[in-house]
Symmetry: C2
Subunit: 342 residues, 2 copies
């Protein structure tokens, strides 16, 4: 066969299955069989093949295999970015589960993309299924577009119709958290964060509202700021200028809470004496800061793992689930809420 030059030619990049077959004195089918391990092959043949593989340092070409078996054995994951522990942990959980399922993972970070749609389309090109973290950057259109091609699950995002969603619980735990703070006798609590950012924050604010209503208090309008440290600092400054009047701050995440708390303290304010502060996420810093930040811990890794798992099920032909999966969260009480230090 002139088709595949079996010998010489010293192409540096990679022996093929033909080379292995030639070397072992068998057909490529046999090589494939010993490598797949599914079919029975005579032990002596197997050894010959394995030896040839070893000597040639043969690595099968993923693309060729994918083409032949008609799937990629890979899952895609679309995240906004990776600063802070949230996304990183999600990714770890996802990766771990995907690894168990023998799936590669290919990652797209949306913040670094100028042409997101293109990136996502290109992703769809090389994976069997995709998990996307709900974020404003990912429009519903993009999700629906993907959805038509590949199984998709969105994590902590807006539930588009027909797209499976998984998320951590927000409303109840926010209600518990806010209730806890209110229980310390605080009367002018503020919710810091923008409910329009996405369902997560929206539900947290809803919990905040619920906690107020169930004790006959009227909840303040949310203070709409973004979720970064810089925004926190800016808000704290406004607070110091008495633009707000509050004795408790329920922040939408830890970064916000931390930066607010620290700039307040640096200005001589007593936290939680004058003002209580709580966060959301339980990042590492929250344990180290004094007073310790009262916050809510989400099962982030589990979320990632669940996503990987569902993706795999979907690929294996399971029907998508109509309702959203929601994982329980855990209130972590330290002392920034007004509780005495441990």
């Amino acid at each position: 066969m002139a088709k595949h030059q079996t010998s010489s030619e010293a192409k540096p990049a990679g022996a093929t299955i033909y080379d292995v077959a030639g070397r072992a004195g068998v057909s490529i089918a046999t090589v494939s069989r010993v490598l797949q391990g599914a079919t029975v092959v005579a032990e002596t043949t197997r050894q010959k093949v394995l030896a040839a593989v070893e000597e040639l340092g043969y690595v099968p070409l993923g693309a060729a295999r994918s083409l032949a078996v008609r799937h990629h054995e890979a899952h895609g994951l679309v995240l906004p970015e990776l600063s802070g522990p949230y996304y990183a942990e999600l990714l770890m959980g996802f990766e771990a589960r995907a690894a168990e399922l023998a799936q590669s993972i290919v990652l797209v970070l949306t913040d670094s993309r100028t042409d997101l749609a293109a990136a996502v389309r290109q992703l769809a090109t090389r994976v069997d299924a995709i998990a996307v973290l709900g974020s404003p950057a990912i429009s519903g259109d993009v999700v629906r577009l993907l959805r038509a091609k590949k199984p998709v699950v969105v994590i902590a995002g807006e539930p588009h119709d027909g797209v499976e969603t998984i998320a951590a619980e927000n409303l109840e735990s926010a209600r518990e958290l806010a209730g806890h703070v209110l229980g310390h006798g605080r009367e002018r609590a503020l919710f810091v964060g923008d409910p329009d950012t996405g369902p997560d924050i929206r539900h947290r604010y809803a919990g905040f509202v619920a906690a107020h209503e169930e004790r006959g208090l009227v909840p303040a309008e949310p203070v709409r700021v973004a979720l970064s440290e810089a925004d926190g600092t800016a808000f704290a400054q406004r607070l110091l200028r008495n633009e707000y009047h509050a004795d408790a701050l329920i922040c939408a995440n830890d970064e916000l809470a931390l930066s607010i708390m620290t700039t307040l303290q640096d200005a001589g304010r007593d936290v939680p004496g004058e003002i209580a502060v709580t966060g959301w996420d339980d990042v590492m810093t929250s344990r180290y800061v004094r007073p310790g930040l009262t916050t809510v811990r989400q099962p982030v890794q589990e979320l990632g793992a669940l996503a990987a798992n569902r993706l795999h099920e979907l690929v294996s032909g399971e029907p998508p689930q109509a309702q959203a999966r929601v994982l329980p969260t855990q209130l972590v009480v330290r002392s920034s809420c007004g509780c005495p230090p441990a």
Copy 2:
């Protein structure tokens, strides 16, 4: 041609280039051409094809393309894990640069793998080049194995022969840091961390030693502990039991420094009054903690970006570079070293 059934058959998963060609009334070559955009195609034809693509929701199959063009347009990245900001930032830098170069990235986290060698081999199967973060988990064998197949660059790892390495500067900055602390009049400084963990820590200890020697002091043996918070806490406890006698702790990373500093403080010790503490990495917490942690900031994102970049160059046929690239780091002086707070 019976080969490709152009019609009916309602296979849910994916139109092929044949379907598009059929629909647009052109050959598959033409479809390919408009999609690649390289060759000239008559405008009207282009429109027809694009319309067909649109209507069918056609997404080309990555594997088929890869097979035909004989490369994957993907880079692999092997990291130990993602807790803490270090690896995450590295990943971000890598991803961002890879995105610019239109490369997908497929990620392997070694800590979640039971069979690392298999995972890495499987990775080699589907990417054009691989960056691995030097870590004890990755044996030199694995690297050399890969090296034979694909271009490899190792980040902050042991320089195996023939493998390109990039890293952040360690020795000089460690010397500067230790010198700074010694300059505060400390006389019994300890290096906390195990130099045998890898070249990073080894060089940091070497800097510690150098700083001592250049002022005629004799450097203490390193305190060999691992790099986690738990290890830090344990060490701090031994310190509190007076198993060591020290007035300064040069820790191998921030996690260690932070956990040590906090448990010391919780036990009533004055940092930096009685004992100075420094870290390495400048994690977020180091800014928030009081006293602020003096530490060294590494250009982690740049490291990642550089890795992606070199990978791309190697794939495009550039010769590997013999010498290691080393990126400069930056001493971040706060007050845990004994300097007055800002």
